[in-house]
Amino acid sequence: MSAGRTWLVGGHLVDFERGIDGAGAVAVEGGRIVEVVLGPATPGPDDAVEELDGAWLVAGMTDLRCALREPGYEEKETVSSGLRAAAAGGFTQVCATPDTQPVVDRAAVVAEVLALAKDARAARLLPVGAATLGLRHETLAPVGELHASGCVALSTGEHPVGSAGFMRRLLEYADGFGLTVLTAPAEPTMTGICDEGTWSTRLGLPETPAAAEAIAVSRDLLLAELTGARLHLQRLSTAAAVELVRQAKARGVPVTCDVTPHHLHLGASALATYDPNLKVRPPLRSEADRRALREALADGTVDAVASDHQPQHLEDKSQEFERAATGMSSVETALSLVLALVAEGELTRARAMALLSTGPRRVLGLGGGGLTVGEAADLTAIDPGHTWIPSAGTLLSRGHNTPWLGQALRGRAILTMVGGDVVWRASGEEQAE
């Protein structure tokens, strides 16, 4: 920890909630923000200075869905490698999914994961408890115990709760402890690995219709309305699902939702290569769905972009599409892909940054954050023109299962600071070309 003040100068400050979107500087001391200046700053003679060269400065980038795999699947990722990858992706904190081995369904596992994170000197780990014991969706996990041990939310894991009655009780019980339930909706009797339509027909892959998501979203929205409990729907992939959320929000249902960067950029047609890295849950959807997700991002229906980082070992992806493991290593590419939407003119800069920072923090009901004096110095400097190529050499995640491997991406975090410590700095040499 630095002794005196550190000034981040020459940046472009972005804080959607406070209406900040302009040139400025931030001073940091003792792990906190001590001064925010719009316009030119005058650091003292003893202050350390980081020149941002026009990079955007945003506070508290938060990933709502990030699998760190430890304990249990260290060949795919560890808490340390995952949090360093997150920092390189610009995130200052990530919600760690509970689908580890053992599952994060008791205080002892939460404590283990938090202890592993403490040594990482990277992004912060926000533990998410399993909503049900072993994620088997038969009995409730000890929600009070998970809350007391530091969990910021509960999750139903990779597979949603099938029983409406049980989901209702789960929402109510969790709400009693002030915890949001995160769930990735999918009707469990209509599963498949390819969007039903042109591409499942052409490619001969088991299909799942868009309706399988909408059915589950409808049920969960009705349960949120019935119980008044806070519900967050994850990785929505269809036009029907975001439209249902739009309507529910309009009538005051306490619901929020997120989408992944890959569903915003890729459609089912990409599966013509049968590339196992494109096997994700829910599957990549139609062009119409992709357009609808982008519109829902821009109009505020979607509250956050979450990476749904799912690092897999090379072996798990070295199989044919149908047998390959599901998921994409995405925490390092998420920011670049959101910035691509800004470059394409689909999102404003302020809205894009909100989807990665203030949006996800609101979902979790976390107070604070933002470019405000007194807040933790969790800051990300983003150079929208920095070009880089995800590769085995540049990725910090153990999972290299991304379809963007070897492809130049534009826009990257050049500096990530957590509690006043620099935990990631993009080196000039790694920039492509």
Binding site: E196, G197, T198, S200, T201, R202, L203, G204, L205, E207, T273, Y274, E315, S318, Q319, E320, F321, E322, R323
Partner: protein
């Protein structure tokens, strides 16, 4: 005419000239197969590896005969004798196959897209002998060879494909190829077994057998698998036969000289009445014989022998 065939992964995207060239060459090999000595030295010194992960007797046997008649060196690498059952990854298996330095790999696999994936790790010509529900191109080619022999053409031919389309690689390959060749393809099956976007492929879709086979020059029946009952896709064999089985009475709706085809193995009394399967319209055994000729043509072309043979 010269054609180049690097791999045969499917009929999707294969143009009319290439299909015609394969069928013409198959005609040529068929004449060879009628000679007393059926073996030709065309693929002497060429190593063909038959990589069959999914159980198959007829297709594998057909390929093996084709390879032997072309004097290729053949090697069988099947699921039971390989380490695939021990959980080896597809990529590792592909590397093992590559280490054997084959010139051609014939692959049958339950996973859709596997032949395409193999082209990335194996430096050999890949021939798809059936991948999951996706494609079975040599079956479509032997079907078209049979149709052309009986009808003299493919363009304008009225072809009905009846049965479980969703789970049928035979149907997909035939649809792609027949549409390319200008045939009029009608499809019939219970709605539960016809994929939603099928019409985009250029076929007419029916959910009763009668309108599909009315006036048809070719009626192709697909095998129905009993496990589809458990998935709620059809009630039982009796009802299936009643609404989708090809009976003598229904066949009268087709052209008077219609041919009846089936890729085998048949479920007699489920998708096809025994008297139709054995009747004068059936060409099912000719399909089997044509399979060898078509596979000889494909192997010959992917081995790089396109030019001279087609000109011959």
């Amino acid at each position: 005419m010269t054609v180049q065939l690097t791999h045969l992964l499917g009929m999707d995207g294969v143009d009319r000239e290439t299909i015609t060239a394969i069928l013409d060459l198959a005609d040529h090999f068929k004449r060879v197969n009628q000679r007393k000595v059926k073996k030709v030295p065309a693929l002497r010194g060429v190593m063909v590896l038959n990589f069959f992960v999914e159980a198959s007797t007829r297709t594998r046997t057909s390929f093996e005969i084709a390879e032997k008649r072309l004097s290729a060196d053949t090697l069988n690498f099947s699921a039971s004798t390989s380490s695939l059952s021990k959980g080896e990854t597809l990529v590792d298996t592909a590397r093992t196959l590559q280490a054997m330095a084959p010139d051609i790999v014939v692959v049958r696999h339950q996973g859709a897209g596997v032949p395409l994936l193999l082209t990335r790790s194996i430096d050999a010509a890949i021939v798809n002998a059936g991948d999951g529900w996706h494609e079975h191109p040599t079956q479509a080619l032997l079907d078209m060879l049979t149709m052309r022999e009986h009808k003299g053409r493919l363009a304008g031919l009225r072809v009905a494909i009846v049965g479980d389309i969703t789970h049928s690689r035979v149907a997909r390959s035939n649809i792609y190829a027949l549409v390319t060749m200008g045939a009029e393809v009608s499809v019939a099956g219970p709605r539960t077994m016809v994929p939603p976007a099928l019409e985009e492929l250029g076929v007419r879709v029916h959910h009763r057998i009668e309108p599909a086979i009315e006036g048809a020059d070719v009626v192709m029946m697909l095998r129905i698998q009993k496990e589809r009952m458990a998935g709620g896709l059809y009630p039982d064999d009796r009802e299936y036969f009643r609404y989708f089985g090809l009976t003598r009475e229904r066949l009268r709706l087709a052209a008077s000289d219609a041919i009846v085809m089936h890729p085998g193995p048949m479920n007699r009394g489920v998708e096809i009445a025994p008297e139709v399967a054995d009747g004068e319209h059936a060409v099912i055994l000719e399909q089997v014989a044509n399979g060898v000729a078509v596979r000889m043509a494909v192997l010959y072309l992917v081995a790089g022998g396109g030019r001279e043979a087609v000109e011959a």
